[in-house]
Symmetry: C4
Subunit: 322 residues, 4 copies
């Protein structure tokens, strides 16, 4: 389809196109899914990659949750030892000497436990290899053990060192009174003890436009009252004033729904612990906007020492404007 290919190449149509973030016009028109999920992931898939590349073991090993990660470690650990246990067993009854198999739950159990003692480089000597072939297998397993230790250490550290911002965005955005008019507001907080500094936010408005009978998805930047803060010790509420210059001016809920609108928020900052730049993003569809609503104050009164605190559990609290 000629037009779709053309659409994949974003064409400049004036300054408003600066809000386009790289999705292009195609995706958004053909798909009725949101562009960005609330957790910041994209609603697209890549296909056509060879199996080996598509799986991307390393990327998975980094992005698994810790319980999943440890689950895989245990499975692979058992798998390796079952495999080598089976190999030792295949060498025949005389391949392993020492404690009798009967006391350990049978010949396979003995071979499995011998494999563990080898893989983990323990080597009590209560079971030991006898003959050239078992020694050869042991030589190979010892190398596998060294590599496995190196691999798991590398993955542990890579998981630690991976810069991630634990920023919680309010699950809904509000349209609240601001100065003499109204503003779109989104609240966020830092869940981690890590300080985030030099935070920058950018907000985009994406909508479907009818152009000569063709539906095209368009993008426009939404200017922020304040787009940067040096410190982010508490919460930050970003504010887009809905002035006549705003693409949101005079649009109500129904108009936003009709345009299949989506508000895209991008955040970048520096994690002070590792001095790495972290990114976070989210988006809001029209049904996540609360009109004539304010975020409720989430600062607690200073305690006896005069120290203020912020109650992150109340990040989503709002109240209607009367």
């Amino acid at each position: 389809m000629e037009t779709m290919n053309y659409a994949a190449i974003p064409t400049p149509r004036g300054p408003e196109e600066k809000g386009d973030l790289g999705f292009g016009a195609v995706v958004s028109t053909a798909s009725r899914k949101r562009l960005l999920n609330p957790d910041g992931s994209f609603n697209v898939r890549r296909v056509g990659l060879p199996w080996a590349e598509a799986v991307s073991l390393y990327h998975s090993a980094l992005t698994l949750s810790w319980p999943q990660f440890f689950g895989w470690v245990v499975l692979i650990y058992l798998g390796i030892n079952i495999l080598f246990g089976a190999l030792f067993l295949l060498c025949g009854p005389g391949a392993l000497v020492g404690s009798g198999a009967a006391s350990m739950g049978g010949a396979f159990a003995r071979a499995f436990f011998f494999s563990v003692e080898t893989f983990a480089t323990i080597g009590y000597g209560n079971i030991s290899p006898a003959g050239a072939m078992p020694h050869f297998i042991m030589t190979f397993e010892a190398l596998v053990g060294v590599l496995a230790q190196a691999l798991i250490t590398g993955l542990f550290f890579a998981r630690f060192a991976r810069p991630t911002a634990a920023i919680t965005f309010s699950s809904r955005a509000v349209i609240a009174p601001f100065k003499d008019g109204k503003a779109l507001m989104i609240r966020m907080a830092n869940r981690r003890k890590n300080e985030l500094i030099e935070l920058k936010a950018s907000l985009s408005f994406s909508y479907v436009n009818d152009e000569n009978g063709v539906s095209m998805r368009r993008y426009r930047a939404l200017t922020l009252d304040r787009a940067e803060v040096t410190f982010f010790p508490l919460a930050w509420t970003i504010v887009h004033p809905i002035t006549p210059a705003s693409p949101l001016w005079a649009l109500d809920h129904d108009a936003l729904m009709a345009k299949d609108a989506e508000i895209l928020l991008l955040l970048s900052g520096i994690d002070d612990t590792f001095a790495t730049t972290v990114h976070a993003r989210t988006s809001y569809k029209p049904d996540q906007l609360d009109w004539d609503t304010r975020f409720t104050n989430i600062f607690n009164q200073p305690d006896a020492d005069g120290l203020m605190s912020l109650d992150i559990s109340r990040l989503d609290e709002t109240h209607p404007v009367v």
Copy 2:
């Protein structure tokens, strides 16, 4: 309280607000604590996080002092071996064979020492497991040992790799003669052998302002005579000339106290050893300012080889201006 929520959203009131660093107007008004501690940490707390997230083991493991870190390592090492020792003991008297328990301080001591030989993958064989269950526990402990080695290696490196600037700021700021007038000066030195390059400083003045009967905390940038240096081989004295354009013009000690003033200093630079960007910050309250005082020269005369040196221990030395 409506106004507090509004205050959490910094509203632009002209260029002077560029000095606001993200604290917003609320915190500073309600709390009488300083915003930034001398060591650069913030005087705010986050509450309302689930226990698991609030603890942040990894962040703690990185920011503990080395003695604390090693203390925890020893405790966890003993704890793991006590736990596995107890498990081996629970398998009954025949679970471990080899050297008698009596010679090692009893059955529990023997089980504990066997656990150590397993966990650390030594496996002399002077004690060895007998039966399926002890072998099974040994299999699990061997995995724990592999993971513990990986974890401790990862933490060691993460602690090493964490970019930290060991910048010492003078404990007090001075108001000294400068050209035809006066200037606020703060001195700093690099405690590490690591070279810091491309250093940038920014200075802010924070104060409480009465606006229509409401106390609002305001922020204004203080321009520096020189805000960047390429090298930081020695000490650096940053200088804010108190000209009529300065927010500090015509303010004396009492005026600063009345305004609950705070001078915030931010520094960023590149650590030449790891090419990572490091940040440091501190603040000064009015009682940390010395009026009509100079920093005393801390350069030693060149030695026999003509090499100059800087005496960091005298960073805080000042003398009154006569």
Copy 3:
């Protein structure tokens, strides 16, 4: 040759020289090879370095493919154990005690297996050293084992942490209709699950120019219709409109061949997984350009869930413009 040395110093000849990327005028004139290979490597060699520096083991260890890397690990592992096996053998027949050599394939095999048990710190005890010299060799091999484990762990992680962009460029560039004229287009896709953000592209045109009878290689920047995208979730087609202002204006295939032209593409972006900046580059010679051709759309229709997908295997598909 005086002129060549002069040529090595790029002389500014107006804004068009901004396209020069550091090759200078010499290389390109004397050599008829392309400047940049399709995989982004350079067509030059450095000579005159001492052997030790030229080999650069660490760089090789990082850039080897995984099979090559594991091949070397196996070879070095065998080599170390053959070496230490031989050393133990040299200590005489009584140096090792325990299981008889006959059962393991001879004295050398026994010494080799003993070395493995030592290097990998297994130490079953079925073979053990006897006498001062074998213990001394064992002491040394134990240290080698510790260092080898550290080295392989460090290399594993360094290979993981090395930021690499798996960007596939279309193997050919096309000259396709664009608005009222034509444009040079190159398509690319991200093969990894890692999100790439803040992508920037720059395109240069390099050609040989006759200047007063001397062939000089010149460089000119090619402006892009869009040089940056915030997200790169799918494919990106970069577009250089061939307007009268373009250095490619009015040049056809034969003219480009005669000028020994080369189109150089540079890309940089941020890998969202590690927040590291990654770079990719490629180049196109005139015989890699398809005239009056378009890239075929590679978006699949939305699936049942409304999710779009991109077929990376069809990145190179083009069709002629009728």
Copy 4:
């Protein structure tokens, strides 16, 4: 000395001071040493730090040469095992059982070798501990072994990951004909296989000036004909044209000597292998300048395959201009 303290604060004296790199006016006047050594290190020392901080073990561990690093590793390895060997010996003759001490070179040798088998977690079992105290010492040594493995692995990787640019600068700078006049030229080459990209150079001229009878060191930037290159595949000659606008205009060797001049060169670039920013710097004193001299071409003719090469060993080759 009042004036020295004042001098430590760089005072702005117009745009020429932009060349000051952070040394300030004091250092350079009082010391007759060069500011920057040819290898880029600074000619200043810090004193007054507590012993523990001044030593900076980690920084040393990173910057030692590899032979020195391995030397320390061997010493510490032997030291730890001598220490633990002595502890085991102190437990009395019955603390270790197994192979007799006589065959290993005495009781201390046996205790030392047992310590090695424990520290490296080998544990053949040919020697094993007997009694509670030896087991307790073994427990502690096993922990030391785990930590040592973690430490050495962390240091290995930190040494690998440390971004260093192996840029060789020509040992001398030349003043060569350039266009209609002359230019100061410095040549550099990349010794590593790592590609360096986005290289930026800046050049400063430092000199002592007599100001109202006081010698003050001043700094001025030297503009470069070309201050950036995108690729650095070969050699790069940076060129400062000595026009009437240059601070070097009309200065000859004797004038530079009288002013105790120093030319400071700073370079930054991105190492393509790790995407880390690397820095290099050097300086030239007047006796390192060659007047009316050119760098000799160091490009070899293309080989049979048309591939050019650069002979880095001839980087310093110059020839007089006739």
